[in-house]
Symmetry: C2
Subunit: 266 residues, 2 copies
Amino acid sequence: MPRAITAFSNPLVKQVRGLRDKKNRRRERLFMAEGLRILTEAREAGTLPRILFFGAGARHPLLDTLIEEIEAAGGETIETNSDILHKLSGKDNPQVVLGVYDEFASDLDLLDRSKADLWIVAQALRDPGNLGTILRTGDAVGAGGLILVDECVDPFSVEAVRASMGALFTQAIAAADWASFIAWLRADEGELIGTSLKADQDYQQPRYRRPAFILVGNEAQGLPPGYEAECDTLVKIPMLGKADSLNAAVATAVMAYEVVNQWRHG
Amino acid sequence: MPRAITAFSNPLVKQVRGLRDKKNRRRERLFMAEGLRILTEAREAGTLPRILFFGAGARHPLLDTLIEEIEAAGGETIETNSDILHKLSGKDNPQVVLGVYDEFASDLDLLDRSKADLWIVAQALRDPGNLGTILRTGDAVGAGGLILVDECVDPFSVEAVRASMGALFTQAIAAADWASFIAWLRADEGELIGTSLKADQDYQQPRYRRPAFILVGNEAQGLPPGYEAECDTLVKIPMLGKADSLNAAVATAVMAYEVVNQWRHG
């Protein structure tokens, strides 16, 4: 049975609102996701929130299912008002449902490499929207997960979760420095594919093998030269206009679809 | 010779700062773009700002070139400080150069269709980052421009200009309602290509003809059924995971690269 919270001063409201800050997320190992669509994607991927906030008067069969399952699992469900939802999410038009989840980023050694033929590796990614969009694309191309190399933006930030449209819950996430990543990668099979402005080879030229690891670099700098040198295959996506690069999430998607298209066609 | 402005109360500072609001941009038919890279892309595409602000102490050969060319063209160059640049751009770490440009969106009838074989058409696009990213992709695939159908986010917003990374200046932009767009489209040759979750045909199956018009729908709703029905070719991009859609800018890029890849290979 949901309990009601309508007071701004409620300590839980204060605690959840604090999850908009990275340092609080790290300390509490919690993050928030908003919107019935994203929470339902999470549920279908097997993840329920610890705490669910929903607006009084919100009615939807998918919301009923969420509430039932969260309560059956021992989680907390809280009916509240739009002012508090606004306070929690920081948005002018807050979603009517908001969930608080356990962080689940894991160590490279805990990733199950046999789970998928395709993995995405992002290096020093700075933009949470790009990170979320890459997770969403990862799900779409059947990737197993996203490996964050070097200092990347937090995948559990509100903006990244939102941009992932729920794919955050279907993709494994691991973080590592470059040396650890390479040691882990080389301990088993896998082709490391990088895109670079300096590559001679068109991205449609190689025949990509399984498993493939697509490496995407920082938005402004691209990949450091030493990282490019470590790639098994370095290719360029043709640029037919005046610009010399694509948005990082777009480049990842164009590259990933080329790989899976080759595999789809045999 | 640049003049100096260091007073917050300067009316020009107030006017330019106001360009962050759409209603001021519309009234003054001006917009702003930030960063030496984007302003240089604009210059190389043949567009100089009416007014250039740059931080005192900023030194770069490309900035010198900009200042020279703007002054030769009768524009204004203004040396200022980082507090005022912050006030103008609204960013904590403002770029050291900022230009004020004339808006250039135009009527469909002024577009030169013979200029390119590929055009991108966005319908009811809501996110300025997506719009800018689509412009950047449009440049990369050699598109002629972007046609905005129905009520779209403003392509001259600070966020859209930033996400376009200068491609705003290489792409023609036109806005129209759906009926006017279709009348214009059908007055000449052109295949209208839409992506839809409901399509049976894989996006790699058709052989795309020139000229091609790629139609992308609203982020949340996709294309209205009547708009899909008007497409000459309706295809779906395979979704191999749990999600049922891609980010709008990503879907546009995956589709556009398929079209140009077919053309590149014969």
